[in-house]
């Protein structure tokens, strides 16, 4: 018997709803969010505009007029709420692995010329830079959610030995592809942008490509593993992908 986790459901405006398990960053909860995300995606309806998974919540943005036509005498909110509750309850009675999570490998060059915070982070943790790289590459990370910027994946959790706070003052410009650490999270900047994460390397891969039908390399629920490459390989890969 699988125990049903407690959650709250609340509106986010009159055309949006959120199911929220609350609590901390948790892999178990986020896996459930991913399963719920995939189940809800099967709900094919032009009344559903967006389904947005986050750390421990999932939100649906809907077209009030179109939902109301389905809802009849009930409110549109009530209709979507019921759908969410039913989908959630079916999920908890089944296995947690209905939908497979993709595995993605990402090359990262940790050369100091591309890793402006690597030395500082290593010395603050009393590690060598090689140890930081080895620890960063030793785990498979879960994409908890995508937000902040298009294609910016929040991944976790990094080993406590390399977990590090954000920089006291953010950089005005972080180059696209930069791999950073903030707390127990790790992430990659898809574009040049301001940012406060500690930068320990850079990937040559293009994380966001507007010419593609699926513009982002990474998606919610992906399992990501980093592997180290040389500066030479970095330039080779970067020049050959476009």
């Amino acid at each position: 018997m699988v125990q049903t986790a407690a959650y709250q459901i609340y509106p986010i405006g009159d055309q949006g709803i959120t199911l929220d398990y609350g609590g901390e960053m948790s892999e178990t909860v986020n896996r459930k969010i991913f399963q719920l995300f995939k189940s809800l995606q099967n709900w094919q309806s032009d009344a559903i505009l967006d389904i947005i998974p986050a750390y421990h919540s999932i939100s649906i943005i809907y077209d009030l007029i179109k939902i109301k036509k389905l809802a009849g005498e009930y409110s549109a909110y009530h209709y979507v709420e019921t759908k969410l509750r039913v989908t959630e309850s079916l999920l908890s009675d089944q296995s947690n692995e209905l939908f497979e999570e993709r595995k993605v490998e990402i090359p990262v060059c940790y050369d100091l010329s591309l890793a402006p915070d690597l030395i500082e982070l290593a010395s603050a943790q009393q590690l060598s830079t090689e140890e930081v790289i080895e620890i960063h590459c030793s785990k498979t990370y879960r994409i908890y959610m995508i937000g902040f910027l298009p294609g910016f994946a929040y991944m976790g959790s990094v080993d406590s030995r390399i977990a590090s706070p954000r920089k006291a003052s953010p950089r005005m410009n972080v180059p696209a592809g930069s791999v950073g650490i903030a707390g127990t999270q790790t992430g990659i900047y898809p574009f040049d942008s301001p940012g406060g994460w500690q930068l320990i390397g850079q990937t040559p891969l293009q994380l966001f490509d507007t010419s593609k039908e699926n513009p982002t390399l990474l998606e919610p629920g992906d399992q990501v593993r980093f592997y180290a490459i040389s500066l030479e390989e970095f330039h080779h890969l970067k020049n050959n992908q476009s």
């Binding site: 009159d14 901390e24 505009l49 967006d50 947005i52 919540s57 995508i146 910027l149 929040y154």
Partner: protein
């Protein structure tokens, strides 16, 4: 056949109803700020209601119609003139070739919409022509309009319009807007506001700061306080979400909002009030009014029903007018 930008305004862009279906990838929906004005601009011409339109702020662009066209101007009243003659907003206008449209005075509102019969030729990306400034996609090369831009019309027929003519009917817009009164419903963290802040939110006015744009309106006024400090993990936000910033002031997320946020969500502006808010200029004050979720739903449904009636009336008038001509 199209219109040419003789002189750009401060921020003129192509927008439609927004780019939905990609927020799980962090791609903001964007789209028009004032959905009512944009819908009515299309409705007046018998267009599809979500046809891309030109959204402009003041000062707005000076525009040359290289060919004749039926147009509508809605939203803000910027003292529109064609060839030096004042023209009316919320009314279909027949514009002869070589006519020049300019906006002379910032009278009322903050966003003007220009639609043309059958719409503009725009570049669509992920199912929408809305301009994404962040990704440089959609609309006109993903950017604001610049001098000499030519926006081609979908309708490439010569309409043979000899003189500037207002068609003899107009949309009544008063029912869609309230005088800077913004209805909102409580957000997930509303109950955590101190009682005095809950009261203050609806008894005080809040000024729209000059640091406001298509992403969000920052408000200035009474500091609002949470009973306890809370740390939210990021979750989805929406057009109209009212977040409480660490400086105890509010920001209302607008069309170009990020997909997720971590600040306390103390409220959500009702969809029916978003057009009113979109037309508030920086420096003006707004008055919040607390309503329930059910009320928000019902007011919006009524508003959309009124829009539907307007659409039926416009289609009827257009058919009658062009049959008799």
């Amino acid at each position: 056949m199209g219109l040419r930008i003789l002189k750009p305004g401060i921020a003129d862009s192509i927008q439609d109803k927004g780019r939905y279906g990609y927020q799980q990838l962090g791609i903001p929906p964007g789209g028009v700020m004032d959905r009512i004005a944009a819908t009515v601009a299309n409705t007046l011409l018998g267009n599809k209601i979500d046809e891309p339109v030109l959204e402009m702020h003041f000062p707005a662009a000076t525009i040359l119609f290289e060919s004749s066209m039926m147009i509508a101007i809605t939203g803000a009243d910027f003292g529109a003139e064609i060839n030096g003659h004042a023209v009316l907003i919320n009314q279909p206008i027949l514009v002869p070739a070589k006519a020049e449209l300019r906006f002379t005075k910032n009278k009322k509102g903050s966003k003007v919409y220009l639609s043309v019969e059958e719409g503009f030729q725009t570049s669509s990306w992920l199912g929408s022509s809305s301009t994404s400034f962040l990704l440089h996609k959609g609309g006109q090369e993903g950017r604001n309009l610049i001098k000499n831009d030519l926006l081609e019309f979908n309708n490439q027929e010569d309409l043979e319009i000899d003189s500037l003519t207002h068609l003899p009917w107009r949309a009544s817009m008063a029912e869609f807007y309230s005088d800077n009164i913004i209805a909102f419903m409580p957000g997930a963290e509303y109950q955590m506001l101190e009682k005095i802040s809950q009261t203050g939110m609806v008894t005080n006015k809040f000024k729209v700061s000059t640091q406001s744009n298509r992403m969000g309106y920052r408000l200035e006024g009474q500091a609002l306080l949470l009973g306890n400090k809370i740390d939210c993990l990021s979750s989805a936000v929406s057009f109209g979400t009212i977040q409480l910033l660490p400086n105890a002031q509010m920001i209302v997320l607008m069309a170009d909002h990020q997909t997720t946020g971590g600040y306390p969500r103390i409220g959500h502006v009702a969809s029916s009030s978003l057009p009113t808010l979109a037309q508030v200029s920086a420096g003006e004050s707004i008055q919040f009014e607390l309503i329930s979720r059910d009320e928000a739903e019902n007011i919006y449904l009524q508003q959309q029903q009124n829009l539907q009636q307007l659409q039926n009336a416009c289609n009827f008038r257009l058919q009658e007018y062009f049959r008799n001509e």
